[in-house]
């Protein structure tokens, strides 16, 4: 028999996650459910040689479900969720400093028919405001055990565990709030109309929640034979002065006030709290915005700048590993798969970790201390003008550094449609992976060296960032009017009390985000990188015999050897020349020394000749190597694909080489630069190596098309940059969208819509610029 299950429920900002972490420790895992975007954490709690499964349900104010995500909580609690057993106990956490509203959810939980234990949290915060709660009295009124705790300090947890253990197997609790008689009659009538095929709890929700998700659920199960009856029942309730949903809320609050009247003591005059004082500044229209902008600057700077050394370290480690493997394996598909496929791919996944973990550390601190709600409050008006809400701001700002952590950060947005809209436009924000592409092309074609004014590069770059921002706004507006249409989501948001963030919670969020990215998105990213590697590697046979990989590796080794020998030769040449000079200084005519000087002179001549030969052989070897690499990639499957799609990219002003480099950049945009290097005979190089990109830029300036015309004119360059500003050539982004939306539809949709936009944008820019030129 499996372990007893305890479901943890509570309002947001009650310390629910802190309690979960304190009870379950590191024994945590994440459960995914089809069709919903929320994840439910499960942990194991040990108490006196017994183990319990603890389910951390998403924070909610009510069980009146309005979305699939909210319905999942209700279904889990009712044991109607496939593959999950019904909880044996519901552990409801409530905030003692705000008891009435917290108990609203508890009155609904009491109707589930499962034993309930109430954890009375933040008794210290309440005491600070002069509020005291008699938990024993409250327990008598509610009819269920109430245990005072301080989750953030770990106080009262043993007693809580004991209370929960005792509650397992107990009978259902008392009903709690009572409703007007006419409501109970209508409920019974509706229940029999539905042939008792729906749990009584859901029949009540069906009657109360006008337009709620229960209507859809019952419709899916039983058709719609009941709708007329439901409408009539609601009308009769209105006529009797008990219209829903107000009747439910009034009845519950009336019962709560009655229950708490004698066991909660509060001061006559509400004292001025720290939260009041801090908020005078932080939500002030001027000071609040200034503090907010400063904070956002720090967040942005940290993911953009602080993460860089760590990312470079990961890149360095990746290169070292590749070198190591190359040093003891002979060239061939296996070595190339290991170095250019797997090691490069794993490095490409790990390189995101610093940004993700730094961003999540900030988000955890901002959320845990209560500032996140203030940030959303300050930014809501601006974001609402593009159809989003205040909570979309931080994810979108983060996306300017990288869309991957940005999309993961959308978890702070509770509303499903707003969250989806934010996820779908986040990749349009101009991320740092686009910079190498922009830097290469702007540097080579729009710089002052090309005769342009000094402001042209900066303005071009700014224009590309602005383009992303404007298109993102338009797409968000369009999505909210079409695909994600629906009633305006309720913004209504609690402004929680400020508190000191818990280091443990912050660390937990960081570790969790990194872990999930690697496990869930990492494999997909790696797979896409290996796929593109294979498309660029095969076929590797040289027409007429031989193998490109062996050929280029041999040339590479030769080149390495020659390059290594040149300084050695120079050094020994120097030594011999010095020796000759010394010998000559003391030499008398006809002496032994003079003979020796002459023979040294001969040796010098031989060495100089060798050095000259070596030096002369470098360039042809380099040329040969670049030539072979170019030939190899041009006849690879991806090269062939580039030629196949040439008619498609010609209207954008591109030839097949650019098309191929764009295809090769599917795993990550910056790969475009490296592929251009190979296909334009610059050899292999990294996108962040300035010498390499400088040389590549010079090559591109003079490159000719097959028909003799200049390959890269300003319209072509603009068209490439606009394409990269709008496209979604980023497997990591798509993998993270798949992971966050729990569906293949949304990443596919994102890729298609962005590629179409990018193509059209590039087409318009190229055609317009050509016409002007």
């Amino acid at each position: 028999m499996s372990n007893p299950t305890v479901a943890l429920v509570g309002n947001p900002n009650t310390g629910k996650t802190t309690l979960f972490n304190a009870l379950a420790g590191m024994n945590q895992r994440v459960g995914n459910y089809p069709g919903v975007t929320v994840e439910i954490k499960k942990g194991r709690v040990h108490h006196r040689h017994h183990a319990y499964e603890l389910l951390d349900l998403p924070g909610t104010y009510s069980l009146a479900a309005r979305s699939p995500d909210e319905m999942l909580v209700v279904e889990l609690l009712l044991g109607e969720c496939a593959g999950e057993r019904r909880p044996d106990v519901v552990l409801a956490i409530v905030d003692a400093s705000n008891l009435d509203r917290n108990l609203y959810l508890v009155t609904q939980v009491l109707e589930l028919g499962i034993p309930v234990v109430v954890a009375l949290n933040m008794v210290d915060v309440a005491a600070g405001q002069g509020i005291t709660v008699d938990h024993e009295g409250l327990s008598r009124r509610l009819g269920v055990p109430v245990t005072p705790i301080q989750a953030n300090r770990g106080k009262g947890l043993e007693a809580l565990k004991q209370t929960v253990a005792t509650a397992i197997g107990a009978g259902p609790p008392g009903r709690g709030a009572s409703f007007p008689e006419i409501f109970d009659r209508e409920l019974a009538a509706l229940d029999s109309h539905l042939d008792r095929k729906v749990p009584p709890f859901l029949v009540r929700r069906l009657l109360v929640d006008v337009g709620g998700y229960t209507e859809k659920l019952v419709h899916d199960r039983l058709g719609d034979s009941w709708t007329a009856e439901l409408t009539a029942a609601r009308r009769r309730l209105v006529e009797a002065g008990c219209g829903v949903p107000e009747m439910e809320v009034r009845s519950r609050y009336r019962w709560i006030r009655e229950a708490t009247r004698e066991c909660v003591r509060r001061p006559e005059q509400r004292p001025l709290t720290w939260t009041d004082r801090i908020d005078r500044v932080l939500t002030h229209p001027v000071w609040g915005i200034l503090v907010f902008l400063l904070l956002m600057f720090i967040v942005f700077e940290s993911i953009f700048v602080w993460a860089k050394p760590l990312m470079q370290l990961i890149s360095f480690g990746k290169d070292q590993m590749s070198e190591l493997v190359k040093s003891f394996m002979s060239p061939g598909p296996l070595r190339s798969l290991l170095t250019d496929g797997i090691i490069a791919g794993v490095g490409g996944v790990l390189v995101f970790l610093p940004q993700i973990m730094i961003l999540f550390a900030f988000i955890a601190v901002l959320e845990d201390c209560g500032y996140m709600a203030r940030a959303a409050y300050l930014m809501d008006r601006v974001m609402a003008s593009c159809g989003l809400n205040g909570k979309s701001f931080i994810p979108l700002l983060s996306s300017v550094a990288c869309a991957v952590p940005g999309i993961m950060a959308t978890r702070v947005i509770e509303n499903r449609r707003d969250r989806l809209a934010t996820i779908l436009v986040a990749p349009l924000m101009s991320c740092s992976a686009r910079l190498p592409v922009y830097a290469l092309l702007i540097g080579a074609f729009l710089s002052p060296e090309q005769g342009y004014a000094i402001w042209v590069p900066g303005v071009t770059l700014f224009g590309l960032y602005l383009l992303g921002l404007i298109v993102a706004t338009l797409v968000a507006l369009l999505l909210k009017r079409t695909l994600l249409r629906g009633e305006t989501p309720v913004f209504l948001m609690e402004m929680p009390l400020y508190k000191r963030p818990s280091l443990y919670t912050v660390w937990q969020r960081m570790a969790e985000s990194g872990h999930m990215f690697i496990i869930r998105a990492g494999t997909l990213i790696l797979a896409s990188m290996i796929l593109v590697w294979a498309l660029l590697y095969f076929p590797s046979a040289v027409p007429g015999g031989g193998n490109f990989d062996e050929l280029t590796s041999k040339l590479d080794d030769q080149l390495d050897e020659v390059r290594k020998e040149i300084p050695e030769l120079k050094e020994s040449l120097n030594r011999v020349e010095q020796e000759k000079a010394e010998v000559e200084r003391d030499a008398k005519p006809g002496s032994k020394e003079q003979v020796r000087a002459a023979s040294l002179g001969e040796a010098i001549a031989v060495m100089q000749k060798r050095l000259a030969e070596h030096e002369a052989s470098v360039e042809p070897l380099e040329e040969q190597l670049k030539q072979k690499q170019r030939e190899w990639k041009a006849q690879s499957w991806l090269g062939k694909a580039g030629k196949t799609i040439e008619p498609l990219v010609q209207p954008l002003g591109w030839d097949w080489r650019v098309g191929m480099a764009a295809l090769a950049s599917f795993p990550a945009r910056e790969v475009f630069v490296g592929t251009m290097g190979i296909i334009y005979s610059q050899g292999k190089g990294e996108a962040d190596d300035e010498n390499f990109t400088g040389a590549l830029g010079k090559t591109l300036q003079v490159e000719k098309r097959d028909d003799g015309g200049k390959a890269f004119t300003i319209p072509v360059v603009l068209s490439i940059m606009v394409f990269f500003a709008l496209c979604c050539q980023c497997a990591s982004t798509l993998a993270v969208i798949k992971r966050e939306t729990n569906s293949w539809f949304w990443p596919a949709f994102t890729f298609v819509y962005m590629t179409v936009l990018a193509y059209l944008g590039a087409l318009v820019v190229y055609q317009a610029a050509s016409w002007i030129a």
Partner: protein, 76 residues
Amino acid sequence: MTSLDQLRPGQKACVQGIAGDDALVQRLLEMGIFEGEEVEVIGFAPFGDPMEIRLGDYRLSLRRHEAARVSVRNLP
């Protein structure tokens, strides 16, 4: 009688009722905004929207068009 969004910062009011039965109304009710409850306006965000109110022991922020659904009576 006026609506909640028309109040000025610092003003207190007594809720008279909320029109409708949609999701917004249900959420407002659940958060404790119903007839007879006292609310106080704390302030407005930059650009005048959303607004922040106090309700018993806690604070809520809501958009003005949401607050417009709540009819209130000014308290001295």
